[in-house]
Amino acid sequence: MAFKHKPLTTKLVFIALAMFGFGFALVPLYDVFCDLTGLNGKTASTAASADAAIVDTSREVVIEFIARPNKQMPWVFEPEVTRMTVHPGEIHITNYLAQNPTSRLIVGQAVPSVSPGQAALYFHKIECFCFTQQRLAGGKDMLMPLQFYVDPALPRQFSTITLSYTLYDVTSASTDLTATSSQLGE
């Protein structure tokens, strides 16, 4: 009796297990989907190549820079300029100011988000402080550079691109901190 049911039962258990795996597969699939569609305004987390395309001087795009330390992040974190008008294809550099007002070392991670989401596909960062974690000792400040260009293929409907950074305190999760904190006697 039970023997008769084994093949089908095994198949169904396999489907269930595969779907459990699929739940986790949704995580990378989602990232791929976001990369393709610009859903959620995620930008690439690695550098784009610097050999940009031809500069399109026929139009201008306004880039807005927003910086927000998360509410648990004590750093002061501000863009040097809040607005910039660029031609698609031109390479620009802008800086963000970070200052750690506390007396301890804090590691920060900036998370970028671009709006409108689809424009994220055309916003290329050649160099960005958001690619890596940033470490700043207590009382110190620093300028963090961002080098970028806007893809000339940007659809005409986008005249403004907003780039927002949220800065998180990732000190406790940071891997290379152990040495430093023992040094500071914490």
């Binding site: 305004g41 509410k71 648990q72 809040t82 007002p101 009382g139």
Partner: protein, 380 residues
């Protein structure tokens, strides 16, 4: 597009009015005060009426059948059980009706999502349980908190007209201009909703979302957070005051001046010492507004969620750590950094209060200068 003159939401139909026993509450979606909100309203009504007609036909046939085709009337049941013709018909007709619905819906949606060429941009940040507004091109930013007294919520005082829908500092916007909102959050997901503008957009931590509105009429518009965001989700209202552009500019300039002046005063304060009474009274007010939601008015917190301050070793002993936590928050917990939310005076007062209330009698005073020292990294 018809213009609504008053802020009162319209009473729609006889059908709906039949159950109208609460004169104060509108029974239908608001028409709102923007072109988009009115388009949404008309879309809503169109679909509502289509549903009513379909419902009347289907239920009509059903009730006719219930009345006529009952065994008690001595009828013999028919035995038919399919008809390809009828089945194709009642698949095709709904498809056509749906297409008719989809056309205006698509047009309205595309208009709603077009955030280009805005005149004013406001960054809206939700956090547990308040809103923060920042005018992007200006040096004006502030928090907006529920202004209803705790006593009203606890039924000790009579409830005011705008119970739970009033804030200490409303968002002020110009009429007739395209206002763009950039939504984000500092902790959990919130959702910024003002029905009169038909704007509801989630504020996601770490990401920005866009929405826009163009308000036709000056007035006061109220809304609420629409995404469950924890304990006090019901207590983070939104109030928007729409002013004529000239008045708006005047307000914005005044606000910038006020913020600059407050900063200058902070510097003077560093040299002054406040008395225990003054610190305790300012402290209690600040504590009630900012801290009591989590740590509770009794200072006992909520076990397992929010730690108690009463009898806590930090509040009794470690003064620099206490100041540091209030200023900079504690990563990985719900404790936020108040350095940018509160003035030096308020922070000094609230820490003094926490160190002297509920039997935490350290007798210690914390002055603005102490707070400033920790802020500058010299406190430890």
């Amino acid at each position: 597009m018809t213009k609504t003159r008053s802020l009162r939401w319209s009473l729609p139909t006889l059908l709906l009015a039949a159950s109208a026993n609460a004169a104060d509450m509108p029974l239908n979606m608001t028409k709102g005060v923007t072109e988009i909100s009115q388009r949404v309203y008309h879309l809503h009504m169109t679909i509502f009426w289509i549903c009513c007609v379909i419902g009347a036909v289907v239920f009509g046939i059903m009730f006719w059948s219930i009345v006529r085709h009952r065994k008690a009337r001595g009828v013999q049941p028919a035995q038919f059980h399919e008809s390809t013709k009828v089945e194709i018909l009642w698949t095709a007709i709904p498809v056509l009706i749906l297409i008719l619905m989809a056309i205006p819906a698509t047009k309205t949606l595309i208009a709603m999502e077009d955030t280009t060429e805005a005149d004013v941009t406001v960054v809206v940040t939700g956090s547990q349980w308040k809103w923060h507004y920042k005018y992007l091109e200006h040096d004006v930013e502030f928090y907006s908190l529920l202004a209803t007294q705790k006593e009203q919520i606890a039924n000790r005082f009579a409830k005011g007209e705008n119970y739970l829908l009033e804030v200490d500092r409303p968002l002020v916007l110009p009429t007739g201009k395209k206002v763009r909102f950039l939504m984000t959050s500092d902790d959990v997901i919130h959702s910024w909703w003002v029905p009169a503008f038909a704007v509801k957009k989630d504020a996601n931590p770490g990401f920005i979302n866009e929405a826009w509105t163009r308000i036709d009429e000056p007035g006061i518009y109220r809304g609420q957070c629409a995404e469950l965001c924890g304990k006090d989700h019901g207590y983070m209202p939104i109030v928007v005051i729409a002013k004529e552009p000239a008045e708006f500019d005047k307000w914005l300039a005044g606000e910038a001046e006020r913020i600059a002046k407050a900063k200058a005063e902070e510097q003077e304060l560093l040299a002054m010492n406040m008395s225990l009474e003054e610190l305790m009274s300012v402290g209690e007010r600040t504590y009630t507004a900012y801290c009591a939601a989590c740590h509770q008015p009794s200072g006992e917190g909520l076990p397992g969620i929010f730690p108690a301050l009463k009898g806590s070793s930090i509040a009794l002993n470690d003064k620099p750590a206490h100041i540091d936590i209030v200023l900079h928050g504690r990563a990985g917990t719900a404790m936020q950094a108040y350095a940018k939310q509160l003035s030096l005076k308020e922070i000094a007062a609230v820490i003094t209060y926490e160190r002297n209330a509920w039997g935490n009698s350290t007798g210690e005073l914390v002055q603005a200068a102490d707070v400033h020292a920790v802020m500058q990294g010299k406190g430890e």
